[in-house]
């Protein structure tokens, strides 16, 4: 070891011993930061895990508020813009035998119906949901829905004349809309449910014609609904299929965006369905939840009047499903069409297949 001292460089403010100390500090702080498993915690009920496909910007303040009010730690996992809802639904399906989530809060209802059918959810009837109409509650108590968002066509009123606006969704197969229409990836989120709803209303043949028409018309695919609106505001396209909240957010930031509520008549006009699709958020308890009582408290909170009111007041502007609250807030679901959500959910997989094979071919 005698000769080694010769090669030690002149001392500076840092040296290699400090480097080792830094490394040790990194390791220690990491170890200290790692929590033990909930089973080791004395108060195991004081946390709840929620899988949430509602946009982070809207959901996080609500969950933070719940944490503050109840003192229950909320571990929230959100979905990517690209994999909206579908990613988390698949995650819940794969975790069927050892569920990691306690609560499922979806920005739509079709994925929740799929989960209910697959036996992923367990019954819980929140006490705060008594004034929610039966149409928005599962008969067996597997899910509760609230806070509607409409499927709309957004356009720029400065660029588009009123006479150019489509009257129904099926009009987008018309050549006058060639290269001018965009929508989010129809394998995910509310667009997925929208396509499944149209399939359940129109039947397979009409839907194939619709998809082929859209493809022929060179429709543009966006990563999500908010991206679709960005495509509109950037002038990439003239019309986008999106949700009401994305249009409202765009308006609030000063963009020139307006929306219409097209009818869901079939392309051949044989099936008349006036009004557009309004999709509620949905909340459910996951079967085998590790923190059932905390999950019940969170569900009670999420489906309460307070949250519906908050969602309506937010940029998302979800229309309440409670008739009394709607009247009180003077909220209207414009052009609301009362479709059968279960029928749409039943054809989700068939719709996905059509989308992949025909529309995205």
């Amino acid at each position: 070891m005698v000769g080694i001292a010769v090669v030690i460089p002149p001392r500076r403010s840092w040296n290699w011993r400090r480097a080792c100390a830094f490394a040790l500090l990194c390791v220690v702080s990491t170890v200290c930061g790692c929590k033990k498993s909930p089973s080791d915690e004395p108060a195991a009920e004081q946390s709840v895990v929620i899988y949430c496909s509602v946009d982070t910007a809207f959901a996080k303040p609500i969950l933070d508020d719940f944490e503050r009010r109840k003192g229950i730690k909320v571990h929230a996992r959100f979905d990517t813009e690209a994999g909206k809802t579908t990613g988390l639904v698949n995650k819940l399906l794969v975790e069927r035998t050892s569920p990691r989530a306690d609560v499922w809060w979806s920005s739509e209802i079709f994925g929740t119906l799929q989960l209910a059918r697959e036996g992923i959810l367990t019954a819980y009837r929140p006490g705060t949901a008594k004034d929610i109409p039966d149409r928005y509650k599962d008969a067996d108590g597997l899910w509760t829905a609230f806070g509607l968002r409409g499927r709309v066509v957004a356009y720029d009123p400065k660029r588009t004349r009123p006479e150019d606006l489509p009257r129904r969704w099926a009009d987008f197969t018309d050549p006058q809309y060639k290269g001018r229409f965009a929508m989010a990836d129809p394998r995910f989120g509310t667009t997925r449910g929208h396509m499944a709803t149209l399939l359940s209303l129109w039947g397979r043949d009409a839907m194939v014609r619709f998809h082929e028409g859209l493809r022929k018309n060179e429709f543009r695919r966006a990563d999500g609904n908010s991206h679709a609106v960005l495509m509109l505001t950037r002038g990439v396209v003239d019309f986008v299929a999106t949700d009401t909240d994305d249009v409202i957010v765009a308006r609030r930031r000063g963009d020139s965006v307006a929306m219409i509520y097209p009818d869901m008549d079939s392309p051949d006009g044989e099936r008349r369905v006036s009004g557009t699709l309004w999709i509620p958020c949905s909340v459910a308890m996951v079967k085998g939840a590790s923190h059932p009582s905390a999950a019940e408290e969170l569900i009670d909170h999420l489906v309460s009047r307070l949250i519906e009111r908050k969602l309506y007041a937010s940029d998302s502007k979800n229309v309440p499903v409670r008739p009394m609250l709607r009247a009180e807030l003077d909220a209207i679901a414009v052009g609301e069409s009362h479709v059968d959500y279960s029928a749409a959910a039943a054809v989700l997989e068939q719709s996905d297949k059509l989308v992949t094979d025909v529309l995205l071919r």
Binding site: I4, P9, F22, C26, C34, T56, K60, F78, R100, R221
Partner: protein
């Protein structure tokens, strides 16, 4: 005592390497043996994605080169040390910044309602139909240009300077640089281009923000979400990825001659010519500096001006941004530190020497192979493979070993798999720079293998060792896709980058702008610190001091 610490760190490094890159490779291979499943996507669409990705990445590479050449020229022609240091800080900052920040700044510019900006964007055709892939390529270039710039600057010192001086005899400085120095540096240049191409091709955060959706990386993120219910998820993704992976492998191979050449410079400790040409007009250097500075500080300028005209006052915006990301901050910081610590350990495992046993040297080569393999894998595949392994009940059935749910282990493993190649390559290359006679003397004086590593090699490597780990920490802060996929359900508040990226999809908003500035802020001190750690003059001085003492 010290040699015990080094030995233990090396063991920890092997463990971390196997728990990250090892697990990923084994899982993918294991699941693939069982079959790949069926790809439920039409071939025509896959082909379109493939072509779009190549097109976008190639454009990004050309544009990055266009930005890098003036930057490299300014770097090598800086007349004073402070000029060079300033330029180096400006060059390093983009690499340490989240790419979405650049994309968001350009998005804000493109959607600005200011008449002058609108006129300008119309003039350059920024918002013209079909230009989205170019936008994505341009933003990727503004993020990745430092890689070719730094490689070119280093190459110039070793092989370009002599040619440049000769060419300067009868040509202008700029002409001599372009037509004299650049051609002799083609091998390192090809390597730099290959690295930029690979990074552009696997990025899935910038294209969506620039509204360019039909590219491979973005589709793979979606596919990772859909493949979650598949028992062979990573094999399924591999089947969809293989054309892209083959192409990336070809790019790695094309980069090898340049990398070998750069590795050879590590042996040549005395080399390095500034190539400074006193005839170079200062305005040429000034123009290059302005260009580099403009690209680097562009997001800040856009953020500040947009925020000033926003709905909320800046102070309130920062408060709201801070409130929104508070819970993510602590967990992200822990993962950053853990990833840096593991990167230090892993990079120490690859340090060996001529006198080391053959099995250890072979293991070092395997370790480098593992980290390079996972470095080119797309983040969705990394995340999916790790989740498949760590969340599989057959492998981790009890709560005691449930590393996925309650600890950041899998998250750290994902970050290691993505970024540990940086400190590993640095240590591997710089290890060759340590004078062998110094190590031989230590061995002759009775030092063991580990003692000579601890007392002879590490004192000359620790600065680069720390700098590499710091780079891993910075990149961990910016990582989105793998972090999102592997976020532990019951630990911490999630990833800061994922949260900020999620907000950016809503377009112009003061709170999001504040978040973007918060994500960019750490890059500046990190770049300064990194330069203070790896400043070339310091290292050369140390090595020369060691040689002089040895000579005495």
């Amino acid at each position: 005592m010290l040699s015990i610490a080094v030995r233990l760190t090396r063991y920890a490094g092997w463990f971390a390497l196997l728990a990250s890159s090892g697990v990923i490779v084994v899982t993918i291979v294991w699941q693939s043996i069982d079959g790949f499943g069926a790809v439920d996507m039409p071939t025509a669409r896959l082909r379109r994605l493939f072509v779009n990705t190549i097109w976008m990445s190639a454009c990004a590479t050309v544009m990055a080169l266009g930005l890098a050449i003036p930057a490299a020229f300014a770097l090598v022609q800086a007349r004073r040390e402070w000029q060079r240091q300033c330029l180096l800080v400006l060059t390093i900052i983009p690499l340490m910044t989240m790419p979405s920040v650049f994309a968001y700044a350009w998005l804000l510019l493109a959607t600005s309602s200011h008449p002058l900006i609108q006129q300008l964007t119309r003039l350059v055709g920024w918002n013209s139909p079909g230009a989205e892939p170019f936008h994505a390529a341009w933003v990727l270039a503004t993020w990745l240009w430092p890689i070719p710039a730094l490689i070119m600057a280093v190459s110039f010192k070793h092989i370009g300077a002599a040619t440049y001086r000769l060419a300067c005899v009868d040509a202008s400085a700029v002409r001599a640089f372009f037509f004299g120095a650049l051609p002799v540096m083609r091998a390192p240049l090809i390597a730099a281009c290959a690295i930029v191409f690979i990074l552009a091709a696997i990025d899935s955060t910038v294209p969506p923000l620039m509204l360019s959706f039909d590219v491979w990386a973005v589709e793979m993120v979606a596919q990772a979400g859909m493949a979650r219910h598949d028992a062979r998820a990573s094999a399924h993704l591999l089947l969809m990825e293989w054309p892209m992976l083959v192409m990336l492998a070809l790019f790695v191979l094309s980069a090898m001659p340049g990398i070998r050449q750069m590795a050879a410079w590590a042996d040549d400790v005395g080399a390095g010519d500034t190539g400074l040409n006193p005839k170079t007009a200062s305005w040429v250097w000034g123009v290059a500096l302005i260009l580099v500075a403009a690209v680097t500080v562009f997001p800040i300028v856009v953020f500040v001006t947009t925020m000033a005209s926003g709905r909320y006052p800046p102070a309130e915006s920062f408060q709201r941004a801070f409130d929104a990301v508070r819970s993510q901050g602590s967990s992200t910081l822990i993962v950053m530190l853990a990833a840096a610590a593991c990167a230090l350990a892993v990079s120490l495992t690859v340090v060996d020497g001529p006198g080391w046993p053959r099995p250890l040297r072979i293991a070092g080569v395997i370790a480098v192979g593992l980290v390079l393999t996972t470095a080119v894998l797309p983040p969705p595949l990394i995340g999916t493979a790790l989740i498949s392994f760590y969340a599989d009940e057959n492998i981790s059935p009890s709560d005691r070993w449930n590393l996925y749910e309650n600890t950041p282990t899998v998250w750290v493993a994902a970050m290691l798999a993505r970024f540990v190649f940086i400190p590993v390559c640095i240590m591997r290359l710089l290890n060759r720079r340590v004078p062998q006679d110094v190590v031989d003397q230590a061995r002759a004086d009775g030092a063991s293998r580990i003692q000579s590593l601890a007392c002879a090699r590490l004192p000359m490597l620790w600065r680069s060792w720390l700098a590499g780990a710091m780079l891993v920490a910075c990149l961990t802060l910016s990582e989105v896709v793998a972090s999102e996929l592997v976020q532990p359900p019951q630990w911490g508040g999630g990833s800061l980058a994922v949260q900020v990226d999620g907000f950016m999809h809503y377009g112009r908003h003061n709170q999001t702008i504040a978040m973007g500035m918060m994500m960019m802020a750490p890059a500046v001190p990190a770049a300064v610190l990194m330069l203070s750690l790896v400043g070339l003059p310091d290292r050369r001085r140390i090595i020369r001091a060691a040689r002089d003492k040895k000579a005495l």
